[in-house]
């Protein structure tokens, strides 16, 4: 396939620029080209959510986004949410409440949860379950994932209140 396209994007705050075939999938751009391997590939059909990233403020499944569609986009992956010295509240909460087992869905799960809590900072359990229904976990049965997200919401709200 010829006809490479000039692409620019910002990933986790860093500017990226490269030539790519328009058909390249964003998940491969991230994983193969940029070595950002937190987002995973689970289904290639937008169902499992292991590849979830935030693209221009929206949760998207990067396995079904062409890199050409992401030209100029601002992208955040799990790698952009926290770092070893300062974990994101959600990362701490998943640890604390046993919200993961094999870890394969976890990056997508936490990335989606971070966006969910931006959209709805004080969700009910039902809203969490509905808002996370695009992310499949085969290990946990979701109970502790839901618990982790609700706990993180409480903590983030308390921190916000304290800051005000």
């Amino acid at each position: 396939m010829s006809g490479k396209k000039h692409i620019t994007m910002t990933v986790n705050g860093e500017a990226q620029e490269f030539l790519a075939e328009p058909r390249e999938l964003l998940i491969h751009t991230l994983r193969e080209r940029l070595n950002i391997t937190g987002p995973h590939i689970g289904c290639e059909t937008s169902h499992c959510g292991a590849c979830t990233v935030t693209l221009d403020g929206k949760s998207v499944k990067s396995c079904t986004v062409f890199v050409a569609q992401a030209d100029g986009a601002d992208i955040t992956t799990i790698e952009g949410l926290g770092n070893p010295d300062s974990l994101h509240v959600l990362q701490e909460a998943f640890k604390e409440h046993h919200g993961l087992q094999c870890g394969f869905c976890t990056p997508g799960m936490i990335t989606r949860a971070s966006k969910l809590l931006e959209e709805n900072p004080s969700p009910t359990e039902e809203e969490v379950r509905f808002g996370m229904a695009g992310n499949i976990c085969r290990c946990t049965g979701y109970q502790n994932i839901v618990k982790s997200i609700l706990a993180a919401a409480t903590e983030m709200n308390a921190a916000k209140e304290a800051a005000e």
Partner: protein, 808 residues
Amino acid sequence: MNKELTREERTDALGGMGCKRKRVEDARFTQGKGNYVDDIKLPGMLHGDFVRSPYAHAKVVSINTDAAMALDGVVAVLTAADLAPLGLHWMPTLAGDKQMVLADGKVLFQGQEVAYVVAKDRYIAADAVELVEVEYEELPVLTDPFAAMESDVVLREDLMGEGGALPDGAHGPRKHHNHIFTWEVGEKEATQQVLDEADVVAEEMVYYHRTHPCPLETCGCVASMDKVNGKLTLHGTFQAPHAIRTVVSLISGIEEHNIRVISPDIGGGFGNKVGAYPGYVCSVVASIVTGVPVKWVEDRMENLMTTAFARDYHMHGKISATKEGKITGLWCHTTADHGGFDACADPTKFPAGFMNICTGSYDIPTAYLAVDGVYTNKAPGGVSYRCSFRVTEAAYFIERMVEILAIELNMDAAELRRINFIKKDQFPYQSALGWEYDSGDYHTAWDKALKAVDYDGLRAEQAQRVEDFKAGKTRKLMGIGLTHFTEIVGAGPVKNCDILGLGMFDSCEIRIHPTGSAIARLGTISQGQGHATTFAQILATEIGLPADSITIEEGDTDTAPYGLGTYGSRSTPVAGAATAMAGRKIRAKAQMIAAYLLEVHDDDVEFDVDRFVVKGAPEKFKTMKEIAFAAYNQAIPGIEPGLEAVSYYDPPNMTYPFGAYVCVMDIDVDTGVTDIRRFYALDDCGTRINPMIIEGQVHGGLTEALAVALGQEIAYDDMGNVKTGTLMDFFLPTAWEVPNYETDHTVTPSPHHPIGAKGVGESPHVGGVPCFSNAVNDAFRAFGLRHTHMPHDHWRIWKTANELGLHG
């Protein structure tokens, strides 16, 4: 000087067995820093991809690879003709059969591997797959095992003898050219006699449909042949890395010391990653041919269509009882659909796994089981999807048969179970089908469960609901699903359990470092179970060093001691036992060192949490940390320096976890939609190592059970086309469909396990499937339903209601 800690504080400081230790794995996983096979990149690495058959049964007339080879970036296209000179176009299966690595003249299932393309990146490989021209000639397709046993169509010409003779298979005589084996256990005539003379006999065909473990990460590998030093490194999603090393050595001829198999982080296994697949063989060959690393990772469709299905058991059952409900006999004939090749992952002597645990939790004096394995035009596999070998099938069978018997006797199903449970004082219990159950207290668990859910209250509510339904006041019925399951896990004793001749022991090797920290390596491999957390807890308690100071390492065959891997809930029963035993060897040496340091006789010191103390003088002690240092800096007469141990543990018996589950479900008769109002799960897995992790395992296993019972299946049409090949059609529940579960427990330790642990990972699946299914069936009991097959999706439930005349 620090304040002297109390014994309790010292115990807590260890983070040993019984505490809810947070997982050490989570730091990397929550930050996206796991290292899964598709994350591995080696210099110059190529990508492999398969040309697969669109047909379920066809002759392969010709394969033309010219156009694919002409594509820029394609390095090689392998076919069976390329592998044949190496003898690698076929490979042995775990079940004593052989399987085509690449189509050798014909294909036997849709998605079968036909050619293997190697290219510079995965896009070029995918393009080249499209350019390989394969000419097929369609053959008649057999997707039904009963029809296959009657058909003239021969699926496996390679297994035919001269002049149409039928040589024995790996498990004895074969009855028909599409027959694989007959496996019989128990007393056929005696059981028939009991059935003939019984007051009551319930009979049913219980079909457990074909499904798939479908871990979120698919199968894959990176093969890297270093031609300079002759070493092959194989990274892959292997639940049994050592067994894979041995298999690769046997089929490739590369000496085992020149093969290093590494299982990196694994994104869930559930049985899918036990077997050896053509992708592994082709990747190894491709790396040998090209001299550079080759990566192969399945996509989801390939995963669902080709690697390791589960179940597909047609179980014809008869159960007899006295008028009072005492079960007198059990008869089961299973027709097992194994697909095109027999690649079941079972111990060699058990071609139907531990299906002979099908007497369940009940004291059944006489029983008989026969299983016939059959070839069809479906994918090979037959793995244990989140259960020990065929134990989910067995538990589903008996728990359905007991419910049907209750209908036949017009008895309450909970009461019927209670009067037939094996009693506490009967353990160790010899079952009619040959097992020795190690320990159990079923009545206590059952009573606790029924009390917790207010069983009598639920039945009263259900009766009222039926009245209301009949009176036209509601369109929703209520089902109460009951299950008391007994698992058989921890395979297994070398005397009767092996895979490819490899005894199913497991192992642990411990090295204590001079400053009092340690590394322990095991023959198992975690796929999410949290071994790095829990095995350190076992050791902390056994050797008195903090769990936080103990690294657990698995999955690298160059460093870990030989073991048979993680599946069948065997890690805690077998490798967990090896860990405790290796820890005790460390402690035994530490005792001698402590006695030397304290200048007393060995027998005059005793272990106390994190130290050895002089008996009767607890103020005189040496901590394990001090002892560790002494092991490296003191010349102690008669004792070698260092502090290391290794244990290979051959379990004397299996372990038998059990549980009592109750599911309360509302069913909308007009839409077939189910609403799980309540699910109570009591598990008894013996000694509990980490309650937090046990609870997580139970949640996960129940959710996989919900999936299987309520919608998940690998379905074929009559042409052998897979109808459920993507996550659009293959049901994986989301957070929206899954309830909150109530977990509970009793503790009946295993008497033969060093720490009394039995294993838990699979119990919730084994118990959960019949519990969900029983709830659906129970909802319609008042309207005359005896049995309806899984998966109970909305459409099938609607159909059941319709057939019962409930739609007016």
